[in-house]
């Protein structure tokens, strides 16, 4: 079975590598360098690398171990190229963007914030009895759709207002932000904030202030992570383009009693 190359992260050429850093299948992680960049790589069999918990954790371990040595860009899980030559080709193709991102993000981290809430009571428009008597089922159905749309819009406005309040407070310590407002009825907000490591304590203090001010909401904070959400070569619409099914499962898990 031909060996391929699994790519974990991008660094500046010349960055030290942790000794005997192991990747998938126990293969040693090494650097494939081209121009001013290096890709952290290991040999893998052509078979599948399942996105299960141990593999995802291994990927992240390599990325974070690399990050301890120097500026690092995290590569998406499951990136497998045919050979070292192809890795160099890809580095060449995206060289300037990767180098720019490395300078902008390589020594930064991201913190995640998820806000859970009980959706607030919304205004409800109902038919007057005389209206109900004169409208047919089709009209009533369309009315119910319209009402539902209006309620969702109202909810989204409220969630956006909350997101703005959060921005106002944590914005003093953060450099950038990606957010998804009301991704699910009980998830008011999911956001990632880019910041310098030294700002993490201040960021956490700011979230504590928000918690005390909005006791009806639950704030879940996670991180620090490598800056996954802020890279330029994201391939999709970005951090806000999340799997709807993933989010629904996230809502179910998170509202199931997380402390």
């Amino acid at each position: 079975m031909a060996e391929r190359r699994y790519v974990y992260a991008i660094q500046a050429r010349g960055t030290s590598l942790p000794a005997r850093l192991a990747g998938f299948g126990g293969s040693e992680v090494y650097q494939v360098s081209h121009r001013r960049l290096s890709a952290l790589t290991s040999a893998v069999d052509i078979g599948r690398i399942e996105p299960n918990a141990p593999n995802v954790l291994l990927h992240e371990t390599v990325v974070e171990s690399a990050g301890a040595q120097g500026d690092t860009l995290p590569v998406r899980f499951g990136t497998v190229l045919d050979s070292d030559d192809v890795v160099r080709k890809v580095l060449d193709e995206h060289h300037d963007v990767l180098l720019s991102d490395l300078g902008r993000l390589g020594n930064k981290v991201e913190m995640g914030v998820t806000v859970l809430w009980e959706p607030p009571q919304l205004s409800e428009q109902v038919y007057e009895p005389e209206q109900a008597a004169t409208t047919g089922p089709g009209t009533r159905y369309l009315h119910s759709l319209l009402l539902k749309h209006r309620q969702e819009s109202e909810l989204r406005v409220t969630a956006q207002r909350l997101a703005n309040e959060i921005d106002e407070i944590v914005g003093h310590f953060t450099l950038d932000r990606r957010q998804s407002v009301l991704p699910a009825p009980r998830l008011a907000l999911r956001a990632s904030y880019l910041l310098e490591s030294r700002q993490i304590p201040a960021f956490l203090d700011a979230v504590d202030v928000l918690r005390s001010q909005q006791s009806g909401h639950r704030y879940l904070v996670n991180g620090p992570w490598p800056p996954y959400s802020f890279v330029t070569l994201s391939g999709t619409a970005g951090a806000e383009d999340m799997s709807e099914r993933f989010l629904r499962e996230a809502e179910r898990l998170i509202t199931a009693g997380v402390r």
Partner: protein, 74 residues
């Protein structure tokens, strides 16, 4: 919140990690071969299952044309 079995904070952290490494990070196009299993389910340590069916479909070049499920409470 609805009373239900306690989920550890570790589950939430793994969930957040999954979201990042699978859906974000540097995407290297061109000759990339994405090796992702056909399995739609990701098994967490406490047997909580997530599905990345849409992500797997994307990677296989399929158009996700799934109907929305209504979100369920609790």
């Amino acid at each position: 919140m609805t009373a239900s079995p306690r989920i550890d904070a570790e589950d939430v952290t793994l969930l957040e990690l999954l979201d990042r490494v699978i859906d974000r990070g540097v995407y290297l196009s061109g000759d990339v071969t994405i090796s992702v299993a056909d399995v739609d389910l990701i098994y967490l340590g406490l047997k909580v299952m997530l599905t990345t069916a849409e992500r797997a479909d994307e990677m296989r070049g399929l158009t996700a044309a799934r109907s929305r499920r209504e979100l369920s409470d609790g």
